[in-house]
């Protein structure tokens, strides 16, 4: 070795490094500009950069910031242009899964990283397009953050942004200040917002709430736990409402069924009574009661839920009924944030086809027409087109009211006959299974979940349901029959075309042969 040159005295000071993960339109760029301006106002040197690429649209962007106190007599520091895994002090995730992505990329480490994240979700196309539930597990991010971050600060910043009329960037800036992770006073942050001069007041409001949301600076506490991913279901009480017919049904239900099922029974009963009438409610209780004798709580529970779903199938009458409810306009005004002085006009998008028209005809006539494709085609030519109707006008309100009023004739209609036939076959299969294998019967009842949507979507769901039912009957008697039906249902909800379902069915075929 010939180390003659003098060993230079290396300075061990390190810059503060920050990574921001945001989606297009969340104001990630604004947040980064604020942090840079904040640091510069405090005599620090700040470098920021980003790789927007095509993510300028709706994808995710990662910004990188490095801050270091300027030192007299020293040259301009050499700062990194990318966040380095293991060397990041602060990670700001503007959405929960973006925080998860930062952890995946190794940017969050237990020795160094304060992770600030908004707990709200903005679902990716991949999550939204699944016919069932494709939403990623939020709890996984909370658990990983608990393991990976030195400190994990998480709250719903989007809600604050909405409430304060600001953007998530301002809330995050407040949370950053509140975390105490940067050596700058609160006033310097607020001054930065004022100096930038855009939307100052709302930004400051959001900043303050973000600051408070971060909790006490430096406070150590156990990492936050994931909130319940799905909100609690709202079960009504199985109690009288002051309507003699309904109250009698309640009386009956309370007498037959155990208390654990009362919530679900109330939900089911209210749905079918609201859908049709008191008699329909009695029919519902009869059908559910036919499962009570098997003595399985799970089975009766599934029956209480899915029989109601099957009985309250979606048809034009139901849609017209729901679209003309007195509570609807207020709900919509609330949802779209309409102010009292503003008028709201509503346009509905309807697209009736021959099937809908034939469905409301008397069953015998419907059956007769159904066997005559040319007649169906002729009807289709007349009715099949998109219709936009203004339900806030008297004319269309009345038209829909009349359709909703057809409710009283529903029992005699062709669609109803078809639904009842389909329903009864399904329930017969479930009862037959229940005698041998109650767990299989539960899965058969739950398969009803596959039938949903309108027109083509409904037909597709129905065909998946029929395939699952056929398989369920063939599987009956095997010890793993229930598990297989469950798998089939999951596969059926994974994609639109039923590719996953066909795959699973092929597997079953391979061992049933």
């Amino acid at each position: 070795m010939n180390m003659i040159a003098q060993v230079p005295q290396l300075d061990t000071v390190k810059p503060i490094t920050i990574a921001v993960l945001a989606m297009g339109g969340q104001g990630g760029g604004v947040l980064v500009d604020w942090i840079v301006a904040l640091a510069e106002s405090q005599g620090w040197i700040a470098q920021s950069t980003s790789v927007p690429g095509v993510a300028q649209r709706t994808g995710a962007t990662i910004y990188s910031i490095e801050l270091i106190a300027a030192r007299a007599g020293m040259p301009y520091p050499v700062l990194s242009l990318m966040p380095v895994p293991g060397e990041v002090d602060i990670v700001l995730g503007a959405e929960l899964m973006e925080a998860g992505r930062a952890i995946q990329r190794g940017l969050v480490t237990p020795e160094r990283t304060t992770l600030l994240a908004s707990s709200h979700r903005s679902y990716a196309v991949r999550e939204k397009q699944v016919p069932g539930n494709g939403i990623g597990a939020a709890a996984a991010v909370y658990q990983a953050a608990g393991a990976a971050a030195k400190r994990f600060i998480v709250f719903d910043m989007a809600a604050i942004a909405d409430a304060t009329g600001s953007a998530i960037s301002a809330v995050m800036f407040g949370a950053l200040a509140g975390s105490g992770a940067l050596p700058f006073p609160r006033s310097a942050y607020e001054e930065t917002i004022r100096a930038a001069g855009v939307g100052v007041e709302p930004s400051l409001r959001a900043f303050r709430e973000g600051f408070d949301g971060a909790g006490e600076p430096g406070q150590t506490r156990s990492p936050p736990l994931a909130p319940n991913a799905t909100p609690d279901k709202r079960f009504p009480e199985l109690a009288p409402v002051g309507h003699p017919g309904y109250d009698a049904l309640v009386q009956r239900a309370r007498a037959i069924f155990p208390g654990e099922l009362h919530g679900m029974l109330a939900a089911g009963l209210q749905r079918v009574v609201d859908y049709q009438d008191i008699g329909y409610g009695a029919e519902y209780l009869d059908l559910v009661a036919s499962f009570e004798s098997f003595g399985s709580l799970a089975l009766t529970g599934a029956a209480a839920k899915y029989i109601a779903v099957a009985m309250a199938y979606d048809d034009v009458i139901r849609v017209a009924d729901l679209k003309t409810r007195s509570t609807r306009v207020e709900r919509i005004r609330r949802e779209i944030l309409a102010k009292p002085e503003q008028l709201v006009q509503l346009t509905e998008y309807m697209h009736p086809r021959a099937e809908e028209v034939v469905g409301v005809l008397p069953a015998a006539l419907g059956r007769w027409l159904e066997a005559r494709p040319r007649a169906i085609a002729a009807i289709d030519r007349i009715v099949n087109r998109g219709r936009r109707v203004r339900t806030d006008t008297l004319r269309w309100f009345l038209a829909l009211s009349v359709i909703a009023g057809l409710r009283r004739f529903r029992r005699g209609m062709w669609r109803h006959a078809q639904e009842i036939e389909h329903r009864d076959a399904w329930l017969a299969a479930a009862r037959a299974a229940a005698a041998i294998d109650p767990t299989l019967a539960v899965e058969i009842l739950q398969a009803r979940r596959l039938v949903k949507g309108y027109s083509d979507t409904h037909a597709r769901g129905q065909s998946k349901f029929d395939k699952v039912m056929a398989a369920a009957i063939r599987l009956q008697g095997r010890p793993d029959a229930a598990q297989w039906v469950q798998r089939l249902c999951r596969a059926a909800l994974a994609d639109e075309d039923g590719t996953a379902l066909d795959g699973a069915l092929a597997t079953i075929e391979s061992f049933l042969r």
Partner: protein
């Protein structure tokens, strides 16, 4: 009118000596051009250099004061050819584009420019889009520099070095009569930093002077025998002149270190990452001190043999850090050291990966492995074994893989291109899948979920040309897509002209959204806006008819999904010969919102009656199948959990970012999806009569509702 206004940044262009410029890299380059007395600037927008074009477009006043001509070129080829103004005249010119895509397009002009050589400094600023976040193929501009013998600068990624590279580049170009390419990577283009500004300079020799006193010299024209002489001149005169200039002006930098039996040779652009990697190994600090000597190539072509041999002479081994492949520099280094008979061992690709971006962890690993292979004592024991990735193996972190969804870029909220592809999906359901040739632009997002449409992309404006082979008798026709940007870039000739001339029977879909949207909303020939300095409003339909197309359908509202669908079906089935051209026009929603939102707010404030449309979903009608989402993918059309105990799956929901484009309703109607959607027209400042009517309606409807609801049991949930 570009997506972003640079009114504030333009002021920074006026800074002078004594001022400090603080801002983004690409704006620093713009300022450096003005400080260098540039005479003209051209280019074609694209990430990461769009902001250079946008800021100059917003800086017309300053440019005219200084006497600088700025042009938004029709293509990179046009921009490259623009540099020919510097061939005979001592005028500095600069052009810019996204590389390597733009350099591909411009290479014809660049080859000719480099052959004849230049008198005035000619600078080509390329935004090197390589590595993470890149939107194009992974290639190197280096190859173009070598093939045309254009000098390539790759400065250290800080504003001072980048600005200096601009100034040096012009001088190097003039000293060697050779165009110079300045390569800036994506992160350097967007880096925020600072440098000491200088005064702007007017070009000493102007374009007007040149026009009024034209000069010509046959020896500078690329035609034999002059072109044979050019090649000799390149080798015998221009190259040595460049090498001499680079050496004299010390454009490359050596950073000494005490561990001088080894060293690292690196591209300038890699400097900050290499330094951070060395810091991780306790071999450097944040103030730029290093223990391992560095030879930093701010000029990566040509190589300076003397400097390299001097740096390597007393070393037993060097590490060559060269991002991208092939490893042109490393190969050349081997040759240089071999010829000089220097024994220093060369490490490069090997410890470093052959391809991909050189991130800090990659570099740290390579430097570690380099020193370990050399059994070098400089590396402390604790740093000899890699310790990263330990945290990542945690089970809880592994579990994120299943939870965190990929989030590729997609169509914006209310994008007018969404209904086009929704219609294509509906056609696909009826007529089966077709071969779809895609193109470059926002519309390429069609290849991703939920649309999954598009088979290939062959380059900007080349969608129709890339379907040209499919002109045979068959049961189906090809569909090709191209945007208005690609259309004016070259698609009019390469796509439409080609199809007309060769009697192609395929369908060509031109997506016209009034701007070059993917690059930031710049105006183009067919833009509908009035532009102070450009000529706009030249319809695409007139152009395609002018070139001989006969089956042309102009759709003025892409949101009409049924019309889109039926037009596509007609195009796929009509008996008429020749290309079937559909022009689908609606304004880019991002730009439309930016344009109209302030006007709307102002009108509302002034008490005018204004209507804002938006969509919503009746969640009691929605069954949670999400078929609507599979035909949309709009960010504002999302899903939510429901508290309805009878529903298992989340239902659709429209959030308040909805701009009321109409796609949801149109798709629900055209695809016969479901009646859950409603459109709400929110009327600001309604008129008196209107309010009276609304009250009347409300009270009558209310009475009817009451009457109906008295007859049935009412529950809190309904």
């Amino acid at each position: 009118m570009a997506e972003r206004s640079f009114a504030k940044e333009v002021l920074d262009l006026r800074l002078g000596a004594g001022d400090e410029f603080r801002g983004e890299g690409i704006l620093a380059i713009t300022k450096a051009l003005l400080q260098s007395g540039v005479g003209y600037v051209g280019g074609y927008q694209g990430s990461p250099i769009s902001h250079l074009m946008d800021v100059l477009a917003d800086a017309q006043d300053i440019l005219s004061e200084l006497g600088v001509y700025f042009e938004a070129s029709a293509s990179e080829a046009a921009a490259g050819a623009m540099l020919s103004a510097s061939v005979m005249y001592p005028i500095r010119g600069a052009v810019t584009w996204k590389s390597t895509v733009g350099t591909n397009v411009a290479s014809d002009a660049l080859a000719n420019l480099a052959s004849g050589g230049v008198t005035g400094g000619a600078l080509i600023i390329v935004g090197e889009d390589y590595g993470e976040g890149s939107s194009i193929m992974q290639e190197r501009s280096h190859a173009f520099a070598m093939k045309s013998q254009i000098w390539l600068l790759d400065p250290r990624p800080n504003l001072e070095s980048i600005v200096k590279a601009v100034e040096d580049g012009f001088e190097l170009s003039e000293a060697s009569n050779t165009p110079v390419m300045l390569e800036v990577r994506v992160r350097s283009c967007h880096v925020h930093g600072r440098f000491a500004a200088k005064d702007n300079k007017s070009p000493p020799f102007t374009l007007a002077q040149a026009l009024e006193h034209p000069v010509r010299d046959t020896d500078r024209i690329v035609l034999p025998p002059a072109s044979f002489l050019h090649e000799k001149e390149k080798i015998e005169r221009r190259w040595p002149a460049a090498v001499q200039f680079i050496k004299e002006r010390k454009l490359n930098e050596v950073f000494e270190g005490d561990i001088d039996d080894v060293g690292i040779i690196l591209q300038g652009g890699m400097y900050n990452s290499v330094m951070r990697a060395l810091q991780g190994l306790d071999l450097a600090d944040v103030w730029g001190r290093t223990r391992v000597p560095l030879y930093v190539m701010n000029v990566t072509y040509p190589l300076i043999d003397d400097e390299l041999t001097a740096f390597c002479a007393s070393k037993r081994a060097v590490l060559m850090v060269e991002e991208g492949q092939p490893d042109y520099i490393e190969q050349a280094l081997h040759k240089i050291l071999r010829k000089a008979d220097i024994a220093a061992k060369i490490y490069g690709k090997g410890p470093l990966p052959l391809a991909g971006e050189y991130t800090v962890p990659v570099l740290r690993g390579a430097i570690r492995s380099f020193l370990v292979s050399e059994r070098h004592p400089a590396l402390p024991d604790r740093l000899r074994a890699p310790n990263e990735a330990a945290a990542l193996s945690d089970d809880q972190i592994q579990a994120l893989g299943a939870a965190v969804p990929a989030r590729p870029a997609g169509f914006c909220t209310g994008c007018p291109e969404r209904p086009i592809f929704a219609a294509m999906k509906l056609v696909e359901k009826e007529l089966g899948p077709h071969h779809v040739a895609a193109d470059i632009g926002c519309h390429l997002f069609s290849i991703l979920p939920p649309f999954n449409i598009g088979a290939t992309t062959m380059g900007y404006g080349l969608g129709p040309a890339s379907a040209s082979a499919f002109n045979v008798r068959a049961g189906k026709r090809s569909i090709s897509v191209m945007g208005d940007g690609g259309f004016w870039h070259n698609g009019l000739t390469s796509g439409i002209g080609n199809a007309v001339f060769n009697k192609h029977n395929g369908v060509v879909l031109i997506v016209d959204n009034y701007y070059a949207s993917a690059t930031g909303g710049q105006d183009l020939l067919s833009s509908r806006a009035d532009n102070r300095s450009r000529s706009t409003q030249h319809p695409i339909a007139a152009a395609v008819r002018g070139i001989g197309a006969t089956w042309v359908r102009q759709i003025d509202r892409t949101y009409d999904v049924a019309l889109m669908r039926d037009t596509l079906k007609e195009a796929l089935t009509t008996e008429e010969k020749g290309p079937k051209i559909i022009i689908a026009s609606s304004e880019c929603m991002l730009n439309q919102q930016r344009r109209t939102r302030p006007l709307f707010a102002k009108a509302v404030k002034a008490g005018e009656r204004m209507v804002k449309e938006r969509f919503g979903v009746d969640d009691d009608v929605c069954t949670g199948d999400h078929a609507c989402i599979r035909l949309s993918g709009c960010p504002s059309l999302s899903i939510k959990y429901t508290d309805d105990p009878l529903k298992d799956d989340p239902v659709a929901a429209v959030d308040n970012s909805c701009v009321g484009c109409g796609n949801c309703g149109e798709v629900a109607e055209a695809a016969v999806l479901c009646p859950s959607f409603y459109r709400a027209d929110i009327i600001h400042n309604p008129g008196g009569f209107e309010q009276w009517i609304a009250r009347l309606r409300l009270s009558v409807i209310g009475l009817l509702q009451q009457r109906r609801e008295r007859r049935r049991p009412m529950f809190a949930s309904t």
